[in-house]
C-alpha cells in the first residue's frame, strides 16, 4: 500500500529563552493513502504541533517527514507553500474564512496561489460551484462569513480545502465549536470524502468524532501512546 505520509522519529522543540519545550519527542507513524485517522490525547500533548508539521506549516526540529516521497524537513519556504497549496487541505476549529470575501471567493482562494494556473478559468469557476453544491451551500454563494452559521462556515472551509483536489485533508478539532447535530453533518461530509479515497487526519477530543475514523492515535507528552483501531462505530 502506498504511503500518503510517513513520520520517522519526529521531534519538535520550542525555545523559550533558557527553556526548551519538547512538544514532540520522537513520533513515528505511517499514513497509507486513503487512511482515516483521529489523533486524540490530553491538552498540550502535541496534537496540534504534529498536525502543523503534517500540513507543512512547520518543519520538524529532528527526524523526517516524508510527504508523497519528498522530505518536507529540507524544503524551502516557497516549496512548503506549494506543498500546502497542492497536496493539503486544511480545516480549522475556528473556520478561518476571509471575512471580507464572499462564500464563492473564499472557496477560490487556494486557486489564486496555484503555481501553474493562477487565472481562474470557467472550468475552475464551475468546480467551485459544484463544491459549494456538494457541501450544501449552493444558494449562499454571495453571502459573507458573518451571515452564516458556524456549521455553514465550516462547510465553506471544507469546500475550500477540496478546491485544489488535495490528497490529504487535515482537520484540527473541526467540530469543536459546533453542536452535536451539526457535528454529525460535518462528520458525514468528511466520511464521504474518505470514501472518495482521500486521506483524512483529524485532531479531536470527542470520542463521537474519533469513532468515525478507521484508526485512532492517542498522544501523551509529545509521544504516541497508542495507535490502532481503538474505537469502532458500534460502541467501545
Amino acid at each position: 500500500m502506498r504511503l500518503a505520509a510517513q513520520l520517522i522519529d519526529l521531534q519538535k522543540h520550542y525555545h523559550l529563552g533558557e527553556h526548551t519545550v519538547m512538544a514532540l519527542r520522537g513520533v513515528s507513524a505511517d499514513f497509507p493513502e486513503g487512511d482515516y485517522v483521529a489523533i486524540m490525547g490530553s491538552s498540550g500533548s502535541g496534537k496540534s504541533t504534529l498536525l502543523n508539521i503534517l500540513g507543512a506549516l512547520d518543519r520538524p526540529t529532528l527526524g523526517n517527514y516524508i510527504l508523497a516521497g519528498y522530505d518536507v524537513g529540507s524544503m524551502s519556504d516557497d516549496e512548503l507553500s506549494e506543498i500546502r497549496n497542492r497536496r493539503i487541505g486544511f480545516i480549522f476549529q475556528s473556520y478561518n474564512l476571509i471575512a471580507q470575501n464572499t462564500v464563492l471567493e473564499n472557496i477560490q482562494v487556494p486557486m489564486l496561489y496555484r503555481r501553474d494556473a493562477r487565472r481562474i478559468s470557467a472550468a475552475d469557476e464551475h468546480r467551485c460551484l459544484d463544491l459549494a453544491e456538494k457541501v450544501g451551500l449552493g444558494e449562499r454563494l454571495d453571502h459573507r462569513p458573518f451571515q452564516l452559521s458556524g456549521g455553514q462556515q465550516q462547510r465553506v472551509a471544507i469546500a475550500r480545502a477540496l478546491v485544489n483536489d488535495p490528497e490529504i485533508i487535515l482537520a484540527d478539532e473541526p467540530t469543536g465549536n459546533l453542536d452535536s447535530a451539526t457535528e454529525k453533518d460535518i462528520m458525514n461530509l468528511l466520511t464521504a470524502l474518505n470514501n472518495e479515497g482521500r486521506t483524512i487526519i483529524i485532531v479531536t477530543h470527542e470520542t463521537s468524532v474519533a469513532r468515525r475514523a478507521k484508526r485512532q492515535i492517542v498522544m501523551k507528552d509529545g509521544l504516541i501512546e497508542r495507535d490502532g483501531m481503538l474505537l469502532t462505530e458500534d460502541g467501545k
Partner: protein
Amino acid sequence: MLPFGNTLRAIRLAFKSLLLHKLRSGLTMLGIVFGVFSVIAMLAIGEGASAQAQQQVLALGATNIIVLSVKPPADSAQASGGGRGRSFGLQYGLLRSDYRLLRGLPKIVGAVPIREIFSETRYLQKTPNARVVGCTSQYPDMNHLTMQRGRFIADADEDKLLNVCVLGAGIAAELFPFEDPIGKAVQIKTYRYEVIGITQERTASAAIGGSMSGQDYNKDIYIPLKTFQVRIGDRVATAQAGSFSAEQVELNQITIQVRDQKDVLPTAEVIKESLARTHAGKKDWDVVVPLELLRQADQIRQIFNIVLGSIAAISLVVGGIGIMNIMLATVTERTREIGIRRALGARRTDIVQQFLTETIVLAGAGGLIGVLMGLATPVAFEGIQWVVENFVLDSGTQNSPLSKMFTDMHPKINWFSLPIAFGISVGIGIIFGIYPARAAAYMDPIEALRHE
C-alpha cells in the same frame, strides 16, 4: 515578473480592501494628495515667476546690447566736475563720438543713440510731465514699439532739424483727451513740436539690476535726436531745495543690436574694451546684456524650482510615512488573514505583492487626485491674488514693484511635473510599502493563524 492579468486582479483586490475602510483610506491618502498638489503648485508658481522675468528681459531684446550713461558717485563727481569748469556743471556719460565708434564695430546691425530728460509738456491747459526722448528712426524696431496712428520719426526729420514729436499712448490721452493729436503742437521747454504719430500701448519693462530703471513707454514723447541736441541741448539744469545743479550729458543710452544671439557676448566685451579705452578708465558708463540677464533669470528659475520642489517633496515624504503607519496597522489587523492565505499556499512574494499593491494603489490614487488638484493651481492662485489685492495691499503699496510682480504673476503648470509628481507618489507607495509588506510576509503562519 508577474503576468499582466494577475497584476490587474491584484489592483482590483487592493481597491476592494481599501474601500472596506473608506474614511481611513481617504485620510491616509490626504498626505500624498497635498504633497503632489504642492509639488505641482510650487513648480507652477516658480515657472510663472520665471516666465514673467523672462518676458521682461526679452522685451529688452535678446540680440540687444544696452550701453548706458552712469552718473559717477558724488565724491568723484566733484573732482571731475571741478576739472572741467564749474559753469558746465557735471559732465559725464556717453558721447556722440562713442556712438560713431560703436556703430562701426563688426557684427553690429543697428545702433540707436538716445538722449532723454524729464520735462513738463504743455498743450493748452494741460501740463503733464513726460520723458522726452531724443532718438533716431530705428528706435521702434529695437524696442518693439508699433505705431497706433501716424508715423515714427524719419531720418529726414533729423536732417532737417524738424520740430516734430511722436506721443506714447498714455501721454497722448493725457494731453488730448478729446481731440485728435495729429497735427497739433505740444510745447516742450521753449519750443513747440508738431505731433506726427502715436505709438501703440506697450507693457512697461522691468527694472534690471541697479543700472536700468523700469520703462513705462506709454508716457514717452519722442523727438529727433538732432532736434533735441539743438533745441534742448546737452546741458540740463535742475534747481532743487535752494541749491542749483547742472549736468551735461551728450547721450543717455546707446542700444546696439547684433545679428545673432551668439554674437551678443563677444560684442559686449568689445564694446566694454572700447569704452574703457576712450573714457580713460572713468566709469561713467555701463553695459547691460539682456541675454545675460536671461541666463541669470533661468538660473534663478532652476534654483527656485529646486528649493520649492524640495519643500514640497518633504510633504510627500510625510504623506509616505502616514501611509506606512496605516499599512503597519493594517498588517497587524489582518494577521489572521495573512495566516489563512499562507496556510492555503500563498508564498511570501504573494503576500508582499498583495500589501505592496495596496500601498501603491493608495499612494497612486492620492497622487492622481493631487494631480487633478494641481491642475487647479492657476485658479487657486487667482483667489490668493484677489485676497492679497483686497485685504493685504493698501493704496500705498499697491503699485510697489514687488506687489506688482506678485499680482501680475500667472502660475504656469509645467506639464512634465504632472507625470513626474504622479510617478513620485507611486514611488513613495513602493518605498513606504515594502516594509509593512515584508513584515506581513515574514510572519510565522502558525502564529498568524492563532492571532485573535
